[in-house]
């Protein structure tokens, strides 16, 4: 499988994204807590640049015995948020948080000799 060298490890700041374009294909390579993820930069909703927005932790409501206690961020479940309309996808696997049938296309990332590659 062809690989594209994206960067040296550390070249993308933690929490940041680099958009790689080859032909008509755009891939967002995201570095988050020292792991790299790569998804097609195309939202299945209206075609927005899904990887060009924010990464936000999922919001959780705290309910105890049916009583609403408040809300919190789940830092262990970062979401990719499409900047066009706010559609949210789990960073871990690219599935939409509301409907798992909707997915961002995922690409493998390889780290080798201090560099980061995306497999296309």
């Amino acid at each position: 499988m062809p690989e594209i060298r994206v960067c040296e490890h550390g070249e993308i700041a933690d929490g940041a994204v680099r958009i790689v374009k080859t032909g008509r294909l755009e891939i967002g390579v995201i570095r988050q807590t020292d792991k790299y993820y790569a998804y097609r930069n195309l939202c299945p909703h209206q075609g927005g640049p899904a990887c060009e927005g924010l990464r936000m932790p999922g919001v959780r409501s705290q309910i105890e015995n049916g009583i609403f206690m408040g809300q919190t961020f789940d830092e262990g479940d970062m979401h990719i948020v499409c900047p066009w309309h706010g559609y949210e996808f789990h960073l871990a696997d690219g599935t939409n948080v509301c409907d798992a049938k909707l997915k961002l296309q995922r690409f493998d990332v390889v780290q080798r000799d201090g560099a980061v590659y995306v497999v296309v």
Binding site: V20, K21, L42, E52, L54, H85
Partner: protein, 409 residues
């Protein structure tokens, strides 16, 4: 190592170091426009917005009352913070990045910033002509100071004509009617009714005056005489007595934007306004479409049992509604293709539906939301995306430069 990659390819973008540019933000919209060959036909967007707050110092100078002008220049016009009744988190607390980034977008000194920003989204989307509305001013009608609504209506309309409409034939507006003052509404129609670029007048749906009130008869007559449509632009107000029960934005928005137009349309039909002003066309803006079949069925069902309640009517409420025009956005599209198709049939979408984006707001729709519908013919798509609006507003087609270049014109 890069294998199987052409020389010069790939390219890289680091978003952290990029300045916001609407054309980049909408690059995928541009690709959609090219793939679908939008250069072959006219696209009219009947509901788009700018942020008049950005130019409020200019607008405030158009207020004729010197005391109010001083107050406006001192106070400015901005949405409130987290406790405001406007509920300022429709941009999803920063998740819709164009909201905060728009303010920092660099533009050339000429033309006016609003014209540049309009072109920067219209061109990628393939929109040739856009009907432009303000944003925070949509809730001006719930301001208890009627004289302020009137002053700002005239100031905004004059500013918009001088600064935008007179300068760019691709931008139109249905100008703001200060609905709480019927006499002032008539003055607005008389002052701006023949102004180039004014293609009708707009009432925000969040108001508490009956649209059937006889006080508005001269206003409707003046618009009918000029063949200018009346638009009801949906809005929500978190100050509304019933909507105050919603504690999340999704609730107040989903209900409010439909509810206020349901209310005004019900009064419009049941009071026989289409019979009293048969030449006055109405446009129902930004409520989506799902509410329309509901209201058609609901009103028809009750009308058959209570014709004495609305003796002005000569046909069923739904028949009047099929004569009306509806804008498409925010079109309900999740898992409901069959319902959407029935909705299109019920409202005679091929002649009555008007594409709208609502750009730059969070729930904007691209032209592809219409173009990609599997149950529409090519003719129907082109009517909804532009032809219906062209006929309704009697528009002279003005195409985006890139379309003319693409066609070799």
């Amino acid at each position: 190592m890069n294998t199987h990659v052409k020389p010069g390819d790939p390219t890289f973008r680091d978003l952290a170091s990029e300045e916001f540019d609407t054309r980049v933000h909408l690059a995928h919209a541009r690709e959609q426009a090219l793939v679908r060959k939008y250069e072959d036909f006219l696209i009219v967007d009947v509901d788009s917005h700018h942020y008049e707050t950005d130019a409020f110092d200019e607008i405030a100078k158009y207020i004729t009352d010197p005391v109010m002008r001083h107050e406006a220049l001192f106070q400015g016009m901005a949405r409130g913070g987290i406790t405001s009744t406007d509920g300022s988190y429709q941009e999803l607390a920063g998740r819709i990045t164009r909201y905060p980034n728009r303010r920092k977008e660099k533009v050339p000194a000429e033309p006016h910033r609003d014209i540049t920003l309009m072109h920067r989204w219209m061109d990628p989307m393939g929109v040739d002509i856009a009907v432009m509305f303000p944003t925070p001013m949509l809730n001006l009608a719930v301001c208890p100071r009627v004289e302020l609504e009137v002053a700002l209506a005239f100031a905004y309309n004059r500013w918009l004509c001088d600064t935008v409409l007179d300068k760019d034939p691709r931008i139109k507006s249905m100008l703001y009617l200060p609905f709480n003052d019927p006499a002032a509404c008539l003055k607005v129609v008389e002052e701006f009714g023949e102004h180039p670029g004014c293609v009708g007048f707009m009432v925000t749906a969040t108001h508490y005056k009956g649209v059937y009130d006889n006080a508005y008869a001269p206003v409707y007559a003046a618009m009918q005489e000029r063949n200018l449509p009346l638009g009801f632009h949906a809005m929500f107000s978190w100050g509304d007595q019933s909507l105050r029960l919603t504690n999340r934005f999704i609730g107040v928005h989903a209900l409010g934007f439909a509810w206020h137009n349901m209310l005004q349309l019900t009064n419009w039909v049941t009071n026989g306004m289409p019979e009293r002003f048969p030449g006055l066309k109405t446009v129902w803006i930004e409520s989506g479409l799902a509410w329309v079949p509901f209201l058609m069925q609901r009103l028809d069902n009750e009308y058959m049992m209570r014709p004495s309640d609305c003796p002005e009517l000569k046909k069923k409420p739904s028949d009047y509604m099929r004569d009306m025009f509806f804008t498409s956005q925010p079109m309900e599209m999740v898992d409901n293709k069959a319902a959407l198709e029935v909705t299109f049939q019920m409202i005679n979408a091929e002649t009555q539906l008007l594409y709208s984006s609502d750009y730059p707001h969070w729930d904007m729709d691209l032209p592809s939301t219409i173009y990609d519908l599997p149950f529409l013919s090519e003719t129907a798509k082109r009517n909804i995306l532009g032809g219906n609006a062209q006929r309704l507003f009697n528009l002279k087609p003005v195409y985006a430069d890139w379309k003319l270049q693409s066609r070799g014109e």
